[in-house]
């Protein structure tokens, strides 16, 4: 119980500070006022173990912590009633991690949290039906938000039950495919305060239902009707909503340009419009939208293949459009020019995977829009350093720059980024021709939070060490297949970036246990991928387990040296571990059994574990209650009793039976990159 003790100490330090200010108080724990303790609790947010330690101080602290907690994300539903008797003032309940959630559980939640519950998220949980929702509707009269998405078998009854919640404001029914207009109608009539509604992927919803929502729910601010069968008939009603700010209609094939051209009245309040994947949308439609919705800020036209950007030149310059996504559209230099002329207040631009993006186009755009904040030119393979010099010379306030697979860029361009974009927080240079010189110059971006330099085979420690020294805010680092990186580089990162939450070092074959020992200093680390790092052994994993208590996702596939010892450490320390990839490791039955004792474990991939017997596997499956997804080799399908598999499935776990052959040796990263490039050329 080492971690708890450590945390206790920490709290005591806090209290001692209080004591120094009030030396008269003799019994510090009992005489601290509730307000002070609540303030302390307010600050104990990022690590759940801190709160636990707090509640273990004394009986009154325990009680206070119970009263203070408002948010809860339990891992298992079977203990929920007992948890809720302790935490009676929970207002936001997130049950997405509970794979199996029965109506009885929902009924007990309803009775235990009747007046305090305001928001409940049931997305993806299985087994509950409309009866459970009806219980919530009966008792939780303050419920304002509900998410029942990703339940393809839920029908109109659930919608009708939600329709009984009078105070309901935010409803997400995404991918409830059996919901029809009737259900939506019930919600529209029953929830007059509705502000957000998502019926994404509810294929049974048509114009009638959406129209009724538009008529009845005048407070609606956000509406998502993506992938439904709506046509132009419901648009006039939607556009008359007085408060609508966000409207998403991705993949609505029934909507074409005419729908907007014939529209008499636009929506003055509309700020965000998502029309991605609307294949029948053309220039005239986009133009009339922009004319009729004068306050539009976000516009998403991704994959609207028939939209030609140059039409925007017809617009007057009063357009307030600030963010445009043109992913996958056909773009020309002249089109970008007219875009830059008409959209004077452009802040965010995405040209990801656009064909026809050239240096000329980029230069024209950035010359006009010096305060561009986000730019995405992923897979625009024809841009060169010329574009980069244009971008960096004018857009000095750039925060996010994504340039994956822009292979024509050189270190000169990267140097410009490092020099001119000090505000840059997100930089994606995956699959670029980045070398040490370029990487070193990127150290000038002191505010980097996310840096992705995967598949840059030429970088070494010499490039990475300056990053570690000068980017203290770094949270996310992707070094996928950066084969030149060794322990030295990683140690610089571990020293310089204490906030690191995610690091991907897959196939960095020169990494050893030392790297992991350095990284164990990063106490916030929750995602670690070291797939194919052959030098890593159990010692390294143990160090990570002991140091990074928040670890939730671990990928040690093909780390052949990792054995049961690592599993023991993980079982001991990593109580937040949710996902683990163990294929090709040297784990045996014992290690698997110990790992299965982790209550938090939900997602396990274990292929080609030579030391594991069917019996051990079966026992582990039985012991691990929280499992939701297991990937195993199909040879086990016969050796594990069918009844056992069914039993585990009934607890909410889904099995994925893989049939991949055992891979003896792994191809080198150079070969791998060459192959991927060959694919592109073809």
């Amino acid at each position: 119980m080492e971690p708890e003790k450590r945390m206790d100490k920490r709290i005591r330090v806090d209290l001692n500070l209080e004591l120094e200010q009030n030396p008269i108080i003799i019994s510090p724990f009992e005489s601290l006022s509730e307000e002070v303790l609540f303030l302390i609790l307010d600050l104990l947010n990022w690590n759940p173990l801190d709160r636990k330690s707090f509640s273990l101080v004394s009986r009154s602290f325990y009680k206070l912590e119970s009263c203070h907690r408002r948010w809860l994300t339990p891992l298992r539903s079977d203990l929920l009633p007992s948890i809720l008797t302790r935490y009676s003032s929970i207002s936001h309940l997130n049950l997405t991690l509970c794979s199996r959630l029965t109506d009885v559980t929902l009924a007990s939640i309803a009775s235990l949290l009747s007046s305090s519950l305001r928001s409940i998220n049931l997305s993806g949980s299985r087994s509950y039906t409309h009866k459970g929702i009806e219980c919530l509707a009966d008792k939780c009269f303050n419920l304002e938000e509900i998410d029942v998405s990703i339940r393809v078998d839920l029908g109109d009854e659930v919608a009708a039950a939600i329709g009984k919640m009078v105070k309901m404001e935010r409803v997400n029914m995404g991918r409830c495919r059996k919901v029809t207009d009737l259900g939506i109608g019930c919600i529209a009539v029953g929830c007059p305060n509705l502000k957000l509604l998502s019926v994404k992927g509810c294929v049974g919803v048509t114009d009638l239902g959406v129209k009724l929502v538009a008529v009845k729910c005048t407070k609606l601010k956000s509406l998502d009707v993506s992938f439904t069968m709506i046509t132009k008939k419901c648009l006039p009603a939607i556009m008359q909503l007085p408060n609508l700010e966000e409207f998403c209609m991705t993949g609505c094939l029934g909507i074409d340009s005419k729908a907007f051209v014939i529209l008499k009245q636009g929506c003055n309040t509309l700020q965000a419009l998502d029309m991605s994947n609307c294949e029948h949308m053309t220039d005239s439609g986009v133009l009339s939208i922009l004319q009729k919705c004068p306050n539009l800020f976000h516009l998403n036209l991704a994959s609207c293949s028939s939209v030609n950007v140059s039409i925007l030149s017809g617009l007057k310059s009063m357009c307030k459009l600030g963010s445009i996504k043109l992913d996958g559209c056909k773009v020309t230099a002249s089109g970008l020019k007219s875009l830059s002329n008409s959209c004077i207040s452009l802040k965010e631009l995405s040209l990801s995977k656009c064909l026809g993006v050239t240096d000329e186009g980029i230069s024209v755009i950035v010359a006009k829009h010096k305060d561009l904040v986000k730019l995405d030119v992923t897979c625009c393979r024809y841009i060169t350093d010329e574009s980069l010099s244009a971008i960096t010379s004018s857009c000095t306030s750039l925060v996010s720059l994504r340039m994956e697979s822009c292979t024509k860029l050189s270190s000169k361009g990267f140097w410009l980024i490092g020099q001119c974009c000090p505000k840059l927080e997100e930089l994606d240079l995956t699959d670029n021709d980045l070398d040490d010189e370029g990487l070193r110059s990127l150290a000038g971006c002191h505010n980097l939070v996310s840096l992705k330099i995967g598949i840059c085979l030429r970088i070494t420690d010499n490039g990475l060490i300056p990053i570690g020294h000068s980017c203290p805010r770094l949270q996310e680092l992707d070094l996928y297949r950066a084969i030149g990186i060794t322990d030295k580089g990683v140690s610089a990162i571990a020293d310089g970036c204490p906030h690191l939450e995610m690091i991907n070092m897959a196939y960095c074959t020169n990494i050893s246990d030392e790297s992991l020992k350095f990284l164990s200093k990063c106490s916030k680390l929750c995602i670690l991928e070291i797939r194919g790092c052959l030098q890593v052994s159990s010692a390294g994993i143990s160090a990570i387990a002991a140091g990074c208590l928040l670890l939730s996702k671990l990928d040690v596939k093909k780390c052949c040296e990792v054995n049961d010892a690592a599993m023991f450490s993980l079982a001991r320390y990593s109580h937040n571990l949710r996902q683990i990839h163990l294929s090709y490791c040297s784990v045996t039955d014992a290690g698997l059994l110990v790992l299965a004792c982790l209550g938090s474990l939900q997602n396990v991939t274990m292929l080609h574990l030579s030391g594991v017997s069917p019996k051990g596997l079966a026992t582990a499956l039985l012991m691990c209650h929280g499992l939701t997804k297991v990937k195993m080799h199909s040879s086990f399908k016969l050796s594990i009793p069918q009844a056992l598999i069914e039993h585990v499935e009934s607890r909410g776990c889904s099995f994925h039976w893989m049939n991949k052959p055992f891979q003896v040796d792994f191809e080198s990263s150079e070969l791998w990159k060459q192959q991927s490039h060959d694919l592109f050329v073809e």
Partner: protein, 505 residues
């Protein structure tokens, strides 16, 4: 179909033996194109029958002509290229087409087989729902009817008298051997083109009788009106809207037509055709003729069994209209603004509707009453099918009407279909759930040591047996839903094409 007929102002009768009407109908549908075509094909005919003796040919041609004229049936399509005949060599019996017909039949038989099989399997369930069993049986009967028709027409293409002479020249026959034909109407019309064939009239009668049952199997979209002119005995209820005879639409000047007035008893008589020997009554002449065969061999000759053909001078028959015998009725000839009725059927229906008691009550809603049984049938088709219901109890036949209603009024909600709610058994489930819940709260309140969502708590309580998994409850629920699925689409096991049609019946 009803609408189309109504718009055209054409009256069709279940009693297809009304010669008078037949003439008129054929006139009203007289299609210049088709008649041209028919004549053309007739004119061209000689070159394809070089071996026929002149007399033989003449009588054949006469027959043909008469048929084409009186029926204007048009199983042929007007735009069918008559030149096609020259391209196809005569005696072209297509074995491929025959094979595809046969395989179609085979598939059909398999379908019926599986249907009957399913009836056997689900016999227990049907005992509680007799109406569903009846529907299934009706479906099986219809399938069998279809099979018989197909079989006959397929075999008909092999009849030697047809095969050798007319096949090459008759597009309709080619249509028959065409694999894609499926309209039994066409078969019927086709058969009538060869009345001199020995067994043809029998086919004809058989087909016509079958037609009454097979009628509902017709495609939802009406075929071109020329197809259904006078040859099809259509169920009475399909004619309801037009059978009050809108003479005013015709604007016949008074005196330009003969007014007949039937007596009340005559109108209400159930039968119009009576056997001269035994006195038995029939609704249809065809049935009477079939009946007559039992009275002696003289009634079995093709001539006796054939449909009585019209007199040559019948075309010049004066226009006849009918008057209602009820004095004071607008349809009575004494009335100042007399509006005559067009046909005898109109008279019958008008008299029953306007001047008789409504003795037929709907067996579903027990509220609506009708005096014409066809009206009742029409109503029963739709009664209870107002499946779009509002929380206020109002029902609508169309979804958009319901949503319009809900949008208009405050507090009205679309109601979910009742059977859906019932099938999921909400009431029962809720009771059970609250009981379980009672047990719960006590349970957990007493076990203070288990409170805690922390990691340690979870570890410790792993062995704790939770009463959470109410598998019995879950099973009950799943069972309920399964039942609903079955009810929702009772024809789920039938091929989709049939499910569609059965929905209409």
């Amino acid at each position: 179909m009803k609408q189309t007929i109504g718009e055209l102002g054409i009256e069709l009768s279940s009693d297809s033996k009304m010669d008078l009407k037949l003439t008129r109908n054929s006139e009203s549908f007289h299609n210049p194109n088709s008649s041209n075509y028919n004549l053309n094909s007739f004119n061209q005919a000689p070159q394809y029958f070089p071996n026929l003796s002149p007399t033989n040919f003449l009588s054949r041609a006469e027959n043909l002509q008469q048929n084409l004229k009186t029926k204007s049936t048009n199983t042929f399509e007007p735009n069918l290229n008559s030149g096609m005949a020259t391209q196809n060599p005569p005696l072209d019996w297509d074995p491929h087409a025959m094979l595809s017909n046969l395989s179609f039949l085979e598939q059909k038989i398999h379908e019926v087989q599986s249907l009957v099989q399913s009836i056997i399997e689900q016999q227990a369930e049907f005992s509680s729902r007799p109406s569903e069993l009846a529907t299934r049986q009706q479906l099986a009967t219809a399938d069998l009817t279809c099979i018989i028709i197909q079989l006959i027409s397929t075999a008909g293409s092999l009849l030697p008298s047809i095969k050798n002479t007319l096949l090459s020249n008759n597009p309709a026959l080619r249509q028959l051997v065409n694999p894609d034909f499926n309209n039994n109407l066409k078969c019927e019309g086709l058969m009538r083109n060869f009345p001199e064939t020995a067994k043809n009239s029998e086919y004809e009668d058989l087909l016509r009788n079958l037609d009454n049952e097979a009628d509902w199997m017709k495609e939802p979209n009406p075929p071109p009106e020329s197809d259904i002119v006078d040859t099809n005995p259509i169920d009475e209820h399909d004619l309801k809207e037009s059978d009050d005879g809108d003479a005013e639409r015709e604007h016949l000047p008074p005196g330009s037509y003969i007014v007949l007035q039937l007596e009340k008893e005559e109108i209400l008589a159930p039968h119009t055709h009576f056997c001269v020997i035994c006195g038995k009554g029939f609704k249809r002449d065809a049935n009477l003729r079939m009946h007559m065969r039992g009275h002696g061999d003289e009634y079995k000759t093709p001539a006796a069994l054939a449909k009585p053909s019209k007199e040559p001078g019948s075309d010049a028959h004066p226009v006849t209209r009918y008057s209602c015998p009820f004095v004071g009725c607008k349809r009575n000839k004494e009335h100042k603004k007399f509006q005559p009725l067009k046909t005898i059927l109109c008279v019958k229906n008008h008299y029953k509707r306007s001047h008789c008691d409504k003795s037929y009550t709907c067996s579903r809603c027990h509220a609506k009453k009708f005096s014409v049984i066809a009206d009742l049938k029409t109503h029963e088709k739709h009664c209870g099918r107002d499946k779009w219901q509002c929380s206020c109890g109002t029902t609508f036949s169309r979804k958009d009407k319901l949503f319009g209603h809900v949008a208009l009024f405050q507090g009205h909600t679309p109601a979910l279909p009742m059977d859906e709610v019932k099938a999921s058994g909400s009431g029962q489930g809720n009771d059970e759930m609250t009981e379980d819940l009672g047990g719960y709260n006590g349970n957990f309140a007493s076990e203070e040591c288990l409170t805690g969502m922390d990691v340690k708590g979870i570890d410790e309580s792993r062995a704790y047996f939770s009463p959470m998994n109410f598998d019995g409850f879950g099973a009950l629920d799943e069972f309920g839903r399964g039942g609903f699925d079955l009810e929702d689409n009772p024809f789920a096991f039938i091929p989709s094409g049939f499910g569609q049609r059965s929905g209409d019946s």
